[in-house]
Amino acid sequence: MTEFSFWDILRNLLLAARWTVVLSLVSFIGGGIVGAALLFLRIGARRGMRVLSRGYIQLFQGTPLLMQLFLAFFGLGLFGIDVPAWLAACIALILWTAAFLAEIWRGCVESIAKGQWEASASLGMGYLQQMRYVILPQALKVAVPPTVGFSVQVVKGTALTSIIGFVELSKAGSIVTNATFQPFTVYGLVALIYFALCWPLSKSSQLLERKLNVAHRNH
C-alpha cells in the first residue's frame, strides 16, 4: 500500500479545487445572465411574465439545491441525453443562482425612488431606456455588496455537486479520505480551502457595503 504524505493530500485537493473555482465562475456568470433576464420579466410591464418569474423564483428558493441537482441529473436523462455530471451541475447551479440574484437585484431596483421612474417617463423614455439610462446605473451601486456576498453561497453550493458525482473539492476530499483513512486531516484541509476561497469574498462584500454607505451619507 502506498503511503500518502501531507503534501500529496494537499496537492490533490488543490488540483480538485480548480474545478470548484471553474464551476463557481460558470454558475455565477451564467446565473447572472439568466438572473438579469428574470429580473426584467419580474419587474416588467407584462403581468403574466411577472407571475411566472415570481413562481420560478419561489420554486427555486423554496426547494433544496440538492433536489434541483438530482432533477437536472435525472430529468435531462429523460430526453435521451446521456448527461455528464458536470453538465447537470452547471445547469442546476445556473438556474438556482439566477433565482437568488434576480430576487436580490429586484430589491435593489425597487430601492430606487419612484420619482426616478416618473421623471424618466416624463422625458418620453421607454421601459428599456429607463432601465438603461436611469434605473440600472443607480441600482448597480446598491447591488454590488449583496451580489458579492451571494457569490459565497454559490461557491459553497458547488460542494453539493459532489453528490451527483462531479469531482470537485468535496468529492476529492471523499476520495482522498477513502485512500488515506485520515478524515480529520483531509476534511479539515477541505474546509480550509473553501474558507480561503470564500472569506475574501465575504470580507470584500462587507467592505464594499461600508464604503457604499459612506458614499450614500455624503449625498
Binding site: 439545491l65 453539493l160 479539515g188 474546509a191
Partner: protein, 223 residues
C-alpha cells in the same frame, strides 16, 4: 420524448416517505431551537460579552459561514471520530445543523442588538440592572422582533440545506427519496415528489414562524 411518467409507486412508498418527512421535521425543530439559542449566546458575547471570548466566537462564526454545510457535516461525522468523539448519524446531523444555524443566527441577532438605541442600555443601568439583566430583560426581545423575518428565512434555508444529511445516511426525506428511487428506477418522478414535499415544508415552516413571531411579539411592542 417517449418517456411515460409513472407515479404508481407512490402508494406503496408512502410509509418510507412519511418517515423521511418525520425525520426532516424533527431535525429542523431541534436544529432551530438549539441553533437559535446558540446564536443568542454568541450574539451576546459579540455585542456585550467578555473581551477574551469575542475572537473565539468571531472565528467560529467566520469559519462556519465560509465553509459548505456538507463539509461541516463530513468533518463532524467522519473527522471527529479520529479524536475519539463518535456519534450516530442523526446526532451528527443535528449537531451540524445547530452549529451551522448558530453561526448565521449569531450575525443576524447581533444586527438586531446593535440596532437597539443606546438609551435602552443606559435606562437599564440607571435601574441598577447588570449588563446581562439589561440584555435579557430589556434588549433581547425587541432585538429578536426586529430581525425575526431574517431569522425565519435563515431557519428555512437550514431546513432546505438539511437535504444533505442523507449523505451520512441520516434517514431524512432525501434519504427516503434515494431509497425509493433505487427500488422503483423512477428517479425523476421520485425526486419531483420529494422536491414538492420540500416546497410544501418550506412554505409551512415559513407560515409557522410568521405565526410564532406574531405570538411572541405582540403588536404593541414598539419598533
Amino acid at each position: 420524448m417517449t418517456y411515460q411518467f409513472d407515479f404508481g409507486w407512490l402508494i406503496g412508498s408512502l410509509p418510507v416517505l412519511l418517515k423521511g418527512i418525520r425525520i426532516t421535521v424533527q431535525l429542523i425543530l431541534i436544529g432551530a431551537v438549539f441553533g437559535v439559542a446558540l446564536g443568542i449566546a454568541c450574539a451576546w458575547v459579540r455585542a456585550l460579552g467578555p473581551k477574551w471570548l469575542k475572537p473565539v466566537v468571531a472565528t467560529y462564526v467566520e469559519l462556519i459561514r465560509n465553509t459548505p454545510f456538507l463539509i461541516q457535516l463530513f468533518f463532524i461525522f467522519f473527522g471527529l471520530p479520529s479524536l475519539g468523539i463518535r456519534m450516530s448519524e442523526l446526532t451528527a446531523a443535528n449537531l451540524a445543523m445547530i452549529v451551522n444555524l448558530g453561526a448565521y443566527s449569531c450575525e443576524i441577532i447581533r444586527a438586531g442588538i446593535q440596532a437597539t438605541p443606546r438609551g435602552q442600555f443606559e435606562a437599564g443601568a440607571s435601574l441598577a440592572m447588570t449588563p446581562f439583566q439589561t440584555f435579557w430583560h430589556v434588549v433581547l426581545v425587541p432585538a429578536l422582533q426586529r430581525i425575526w423575518p431574517a431569522l425565519s428565512s435563515q431557519i428555512v434555508i437550514v431546513m432546505l440545506g438539511s437535504a444533505v444529511v442523507s449523505q451520512i445516511a441520516a434517514e431524512d426525506l432525501t434519504f427516503a427519496a434515494n431509497f425509493i428511487q433505487s427500488r422503483n428506477f423512477r428517479a425523476f418522478e421520485t425526486y419531483i415528489v420529494s422536491t414538492l414535499i420540500y416546497l410544501a415544508l418550506a412554505i409551512l415552516l415559513r407560515q409557522l414562524l410568521a405565526g410564532l413571531g406574531w405570538m411572541l411579539f405582540p403588536r404593541k411592542a414598539s419598533r
